[in-house]
Symmetry: C2
Subunit: 335 residues, 2 copies
C-alpha cells in the first residue's frame, strides 16, 4: 500500500445526497486502508447519516459548509457568492494542499468553474478538460474534452491528448493508449480549421501514440482509447450517447411488449439484456476527472448512488498513488 490519500467528498452534491455520498465514503473506507475522507457539507445532516454506519472514526472528518449549490444556479455566480457551499469549501481544502482530491455529484457547471477558479490549473496547463469515460465495444475510452470551455485552440487539444494519454495509461491501465482526434473523415486533409491545425501537431508528439482521425461512427467500436475533441463536440458525443442508448432501449422494450410471442421472449432475455445494457451505460463508467488542476477533481454523475461515489473515490486513490499530476507537469513542460 502507498502513503495515505485524503479525499474530500461533497456530502451535499447530487440527486441522492446526502445518503449516497456518505454511504459511498464509508464503503470506500472499509475497502481501502490507506484512504482518509473529509465530508464537506452540513454537519447535522452528515452526522445523522453517519450514525447509520460503523466505520473507522480516525479516518473520517467533517468540514462544515452551510450552503448548497443547486443544479440550476448560474455556475460563475454560484461559485463567487456561495463561499460556504460544500463545493467551494471542499475545493479550498484541495487548493491549500489539505487534501489530494475532491469528489462531487453536484452541478457540473459549478464544479468546472470551481476547478478553474478555486483549485486552479497546474502552471503551463492552458485549459483543464473534463474527461469522462464512455463505454465502447472494447471497454471504456476517455472522451476529452466535454467541459464548458468551447472554441478551443490547437494547443489546448494537444495538451488534452497528452493528459488523456497519461490518465488512460496510469489510472485505467491501458498500455500505450491509442490517441485519436474526432474528425469527419479518416484522411489528414479532412476536417474543420481546428482539426487541420491540431492534426500535424499531434503527429509530431513523440510521447503519445497518435493513430490519426476517428470518425464518430467508429467511437463505439472502441477504435481509440483517448478521443480528443473540443468541448462542444465532446458534449454532443457524450449526450447523444446517453440519449440514443436510452431512446433505443425504450423503443426495444415497446417492441418486446407488442406481441404475445415477444412478451414471452422478453421474460427469458431480461437478465442477459440487463447485463449488456449496463456495460453500455455512460453513468456506469465512474466519475469524470477534471484534469490539469492543482489536485484532482472528479465529477460523479448527478444520479450517482453510493456505489458510483465509492468508485469515484477509488479513482482518486489511483490518481494519487500514480502521481498523475507530477507526470502531467513533467510532460506538459517538455517540448
Amino acid at each position: 500500500m502507498g502513503s495515505m490519500i485524503k479525499v474530500v467528498v461533497d456530502a451535499m452534491g447530487g440527486d441522492n445526497a446526502p445518503e449516497a455520498p456518505i454511504k459511498g465514503a464509508v464503503d470506500a473506507l472499509d475497502e481501502i486502508s490507506n484512504l482518509s475522507i473529509v465530508l464537506a457539507g452540513r454537519t447535522d445532516d452528515i452526522n445523522r447519516e453517519l450514525g447509520k454506519y460503523t466505520y473507522d472514526k480516525e479516518r473520517i472528518s467533517i468540514v462544515h459548509a452551510d450552503d448548497v449549490i443547486g443544479f440550476d444556479e448560474p455556475p460563475v455566480m454560484a461559485i463567487r457568492k456561495k463561499k460556504n457551499s460544500s463545493i467551494v469549501t471542499g475545493m479550498n481544502l484541495v487548493k491549500h494542499g489539505d487534501a489530494d482530491a475532491f469528489v462531487s455529484a453536484g452541478s457540473t457547471g459549478a464544479i468546472l468553474v470551481g476547478g478553474q477558479f478555486v483549485v486552479g490549473r497546474i502552471k503551463g496547463v492552458e485549459r483543464s478538460p473534463l474527461a469522462p469515460l464512455i463505454p465502447t465495444a472494447k471497454g471504456p475510452a476517455l472522451l476529452i474534452d466535454c467541459g464548458a470551455n468551447v472554441d478551443a485552440k490547437a494547443s489546448h487539444l494537444v495538451q488534452f491528448a497528452k493528459m488523456g494519454s497519461i490518465y488512460m495509461k496510469y489510472v485505467a491501465g491501458v498500455k500505450n493508449p491509442r490517441v485519436a482526434i474526432v474528425n469527419i473523415g479518416a484522411e489528414e486533409e479532412k476536417g474543420n480549421a481546428l482539426v487541420k491545425a491540431t492534426y500535424p501537431l499531434l503527429k509530431e508528439c513523440t510521447d503519445i501514440n497518435f493513430i490519426g482521425s476517428i470518425e464518430a461512427r467508429d467511437i463505439p467500436k472502441g477504435d481509440a482509447d483517448v478521443i480528443v475533441c473540443e468541448a462542444f463536440v465532446g458534449n454532443v458525443i457524450l449526450k447523444l450517447y446517453e440519449g440514443l442508448a436510452s431512446t433505443l432501449m425504450s423503443k426495444i422494450k415497446e417492441g418486446l411488449m407488442s406481441t404475445v410471442r415477444s412478451k414471452m421472449g422478453a421474460v427469458l432475455i431480461k437478465p442477459a439484456l440487463k447485463k449488456t445494457l449496463k456495460q453500455f451505460d455512460t453513468s456506469e463508467q465512474g466519475g469524470a476527472p477534471l484534469l490539469g488542476l492543482n489536485g484532482l477533481v472528479v465529477k460523479a454523475h448527478g444520479s450517482s448512488g453510493s456505489l458510483e461515489i465509492k468508485q469515484a473515490i477509488k479513482q482518486c486513490l489511483q490518481f494519487g498513488e500514480e502521481k498523475i499530476n507530477e507526470k502531467i507537469k513533467e510532460n506538459l513542460t517538455i517540448e
Copy 2:
C-alpha cells in the same frame, strides 16, 4: 396528379449498382404515372439490366456516361476530371433544366462537390447543406447540415433553418415544424461563438417556428423536427447515430446468445426486435437532399437497395410537385 417530373438516376452509383438503381427506377415508374426517368451510366450495362423487366418504354431513357467515380477518389479532382462520369453527366441534365432532380447512391463527396460546381446554387443561397432524415422516437427529423462545408457562419445556419423548415413542411408533411439549434445547454447564453451569434438571428425569423436550443441527448427523443448545426457537428451526430446503434445491437445479440435461457427468448423476440430496429436505422429514412441548388440532388445511402432508390425517387416527386425551390427562392430573398 401534377405535371410530369423527370428524375435522373445514377445507374452506376452505390454498392449495389447497376442492379439496385435500375430496379428502383423501374419500380418507381410502375407506381407513379407522372414520372419519367433518365438513367445515367454505361449504356450496355443499363440495357442488360433493363432487359430483366417490363416497363413503360416511353417514360425511360438512357444518357450514356463512360466513367464512374469511385468512393475513394478525391471528390474535387474527380468532378473536375471525369466529365463523362455518371454523376457529372446526370447533374448536367439538371443544371440545363433537362431534368428536375438527380438521385445517386455514389460517393457523398463527389455528389456534394458536383452539387456546388455542376448544378450550382440558387442565387442568394450561400451554402447548400446536405440534410439527411434521422430516426427519432416521434418519427424522422431533418439534420441540417451534414455536408462537407465546415466552419460555417451564422448567416449560413439561418438559411439552413429556413430551407429545412420548408422541406419538412412540404415534403415530410410536418405542420409548423419545430426548428432547434444544437447546443450544449438549453439557455440562450450557452454555446460556442457560432451558436451564440446564430441564436438571436433565429429568434428574429418570423417565418420559422424556432423553439430554441436542443441538447444532443434530446435529439433521439424527437424534441425537434429541424435540427440546425454546422456540418462538423452534423457529421458527428449522423455517424454516431449509425455507429452507436450498430454497436449496441451487436452487443445485445452477443448478450442474447450468452445463456440457454436468453437464447430461447431470442427466438421469440426476433420478429418484434427486427421491426423496432428498422425504425431506428438511419439508412431506412430515404435519401438525403442537398438543398438550395438549381434543381434537386438526393444522396441515397451507399448500401441502398432498389427499395431505397425507389423511395429517393419518390422524394424528388414530392419536391418537384410542391415547388420547393420556388419556395426557397421566395423565402431566402425576403428579409
